[in-house]
Symmetry: C2
Subunit: 457 residues, 2 copies
């Protein structure tokens, strides 16, 4: 991984594996393949065709296949396809062997009946664990947590904690934190493996544990969970219900995926597209994702067109006015997007909660005055030099000035209002604010032009 | 943290701490304060004014202050200010006590002379460690790695590895991986604490270690490092030079910051703003960040205006044409941004490297044909119903069709070309592509209108 030599070695290994697979040399294949990291196994798996995958399933145990399935990144349809080509027994056992949270991620992509049938086939313990997680709403702490944690009582000793850890090491998702619970399974403390290692063997857990446990509620939004974990630099975070009962834990690897997902999500919305990160795309599936936005924008654009149509008389008299429509609209759209991006990120990172909304809007307004003033003055000169008309320059400059102030405030205001009504502010992103500001700019520009018509002709 | 009760308790604690600070009750304050998690300590610290901070410095040791400083998130200027108000000795000792990678992050914000003076005051060991890290270029693996890792030789036993871990636990940035080196400090293996715990005491490390170590080169881009870590779900990643010598490690908490940073960065660029995430802003500093883009866009917009000016004659004859300029330009800008966002993310996540660029462009072109065709046909009808002119509808519809194809291809092509020339493709984002597509749309629309003028009048 670190250099070309490594990359080369990796490609060589893959070629050998392909060869062994086709030769159906199960022993040598297993020896080579199981030596790989599960991510590399997954990469190899993703490159196989159906026929090759069927051979692979016959080479591996459901347990070995489980770690591969935890590492692949494919679309909803592909999950269905891959599971469908396995024998139902094999698939169910594989799902049972996966970490419960990862299995739930896969099962969430399937139809209810399919899920039910897999759950019936697999062993009861795994099925119960999965069922427990399946009913949490998407994007909550509950949906990304796992129940495979290590918990002990406060009156046990460090050495017995270490013994439990050794036992649980092969199945627990993380053994680097041990959570301390009371008789009713309420979370009372936490101790890291680091602290356990340093502590004396016969010390009681209650003496070395930290009682100030940072935990998240099971219904908490996953973005907030990710923020807490990042802020505190934790490797795992306990999830509790309202009575502080320990329900599960969230590990850092899942949180990394959340951070990535949420950032992509905001980015997608700013670009006016439902999901920017889908890996397999045909022109049809891509068009399907982009068309809804485009059609909405088309109708919003018609609104703008209609508005300009109201000023047809003005346009008829001074055709040169049309020349500056895209300039003024574009500037409005750009400042609006800038202000909106700052507000959306501020809300996403929680920065914006710290100060009053009014202060933010006043500040954006003043920013608009500065940027609008600078650009406005610049435009007066440029238009004067280019068109030799001071009046036209003044009109365009004044329009830019007023438009930029209004557009900047609108850009900040829209996400704040949406956030207030519990709508994800990123939804209002990019294209939407651009259209709003198009309308603002047309009204200001033609309003001014019509008012001062006598000076223009 | 998990519910309102927790939040309340936190606020209460803060009030008590403020009170104790002002009473100068050092003992009770320390008892309460040092009980907090360092992130909460940092939150408290960020709320103090200068006078209060000076009291705090007199209450705490440089070592205690170090963990606070690792957790605060402030701007460049503020780092300077905060360090400046400490006694130079105190500040230097604090920096020496911080994890080397975090200390380097702070020092990178200071002037060279300041850095040199702090390095002279602090103990040699810490100074050497920091100096080693200081010379790595920003955004490389070297710049985010730390040298506080645990390494052993392959012929030691599991029990001696555990003994070394116990010793290093208080200072190492992570003890959850032990890296195995040979006599020349070359990386030959890795073993997790999880595996160490399960292994028998007298086993040799070489028997239980994994020889397939995934490592990154010291000059590797931090975004790639983050991707590797996320893909493999590692908690730490070793950093090596060209001869595979172990130089340091990168831990998952630093990588989470990188993922967040890079995503924000792409987002900022799509919004046409240099840094969306700066927390303290005055209208002037905000305007300073946004104006450069706006002025560039102003001149690009002038280009579009100039272009439309070329068609003044056409406009003079058919003023209604002006009405649809923002609609067509807007649609072009939006499809372009969609295609660009997909390409930029594809490049950022490495997805785009997997397939041929030509395939991507052909696919985007076909997507443009589908979206352009759908929107074009829709527009013909809407304009016909609204303006009762089939010819005008046909003109606008045909323009939308052609523009969407061209704009989609341009949106995908620009980032690919920039990536080829090793320019960050996100730079070309949002506003830039919007202007390019404005120009494309004007050329197509007025080109068609001028050609078919006789049918329009």
């Amino acid at each position: 991984m670190n250099n070309e030599k490594e990359q080369e070695r990796k490609e060589q290994t893959e070629l050998v594996l392909f060869h062994l697979l086709h030769l159906r040399d199960i022993e040598t294949f297993r020896e080579e393949f199981l030596n790989l990291h599960s991510y590399d196994q997954a990469q190899f798996y993703e490159e196989l065709n159906e026929e090759e995958r069927l051979i692979l399933y016959s080479f591996l145990s459901p347990e070995e296949m489980a770690s591969i399935f935890e590492s692949i990144e494919v679309s909803e349809e592909e999950y269905k396809e891959l599971l469908g080509e396995m024998m139902p027994d094999f698939a169910a056992n594989m799902l049972a062997d996966m970490y419960a949270d990862d299995a739930v991620d896969v099962l969430n992509e399937l139809d209810k009946e399919q899920v039910a049938s897999y759950l019936t086939i697999m062993n009861d313990e795994a099925a119960d664990e999965i069922k427990e997680l399946l009913h949490y709403e998407e994007s909550t702490a509950g949906s990304i947590m796992t129940t495979e944690y290590v918990a002990i009582y406060a009156n046990e000793t460090v050495s017995s904690a270490m013994r439990i850890l050794k036992e649980k090491a092969p199945v627990a998702e993380t053994i680097y934190y041990v959570f301390v619970i009371d008789d009713e399974k309420r979370l009372v403390g936490v101790i890291s493996l680091r602290d356990l290692i340093v502590a004396e063997d016969d010390t009681l857990i209650r003496e070395v544990m930290s009682e100030r446990v940072v935990s998240v509620s099971v219904a908490e939004d996953q973005e907030k969970v990710a923020r807490t974990m990042r802020d505190y630099d934790f490797l795992a975070l306990p999830v509790v219900d309202f009575q502080n009962h320990l329900l599960g834990i969230i590990t850092v690897d899942d949180v990394m995926d959340v951070i990535d997902e949420e950032a992509s999500d905001d980015y997608s919305k700013l670009a006016g597209i439902s999901d920017v990160d889908d890996t397999i795309r045909t022109p049809f599936s891509a068009a399907k994702k982009r068309l809804p936005w485009l059609v909405i924008l088309l109708f919003l654009g018609m609104l703008t067109a209609n508005l300009i149509g109201q000023f047809e008389e003005t346009l008829d008299k001074v055709a040169i006015l049309a020349v500056f429509i895209p300039l003024i609209g574009g500037m409005a759209g750009n400042t609006g997007t800038q202000a909106l991006a700052v507000a959306v990120r501020g809300i996403a990172t929680g920065e914006a909660d710290k100060e009053s909304k009014w202060k933010l809007i006043v500040r954006e307004g003043l920013t608009g005055v500065i940027t609008g003033g600078s650009c406005g003055i610049l435009v007066v000169f440029v238009v004067y030099i280019w068109q030799h008309s001071f009046v036209l320059g003044l009109l365009v400059g004044a329009s830019i000035f007023a438009t930029l102030i209004a557009a900047t405030i609108a850009g900040a205001l829209v996400p704040i209002i949406m956030h207030k009504f519990k709508i994800d502010p990123a939804v209002a992103s990019g294209p939407f604010i651009t259209t709003v500001n198009d309308i603002i700019s047309v009204l200001i520009y033609f309003g001014l032009a019509t008012t001062f018509m006598s000076y223009l002709t």
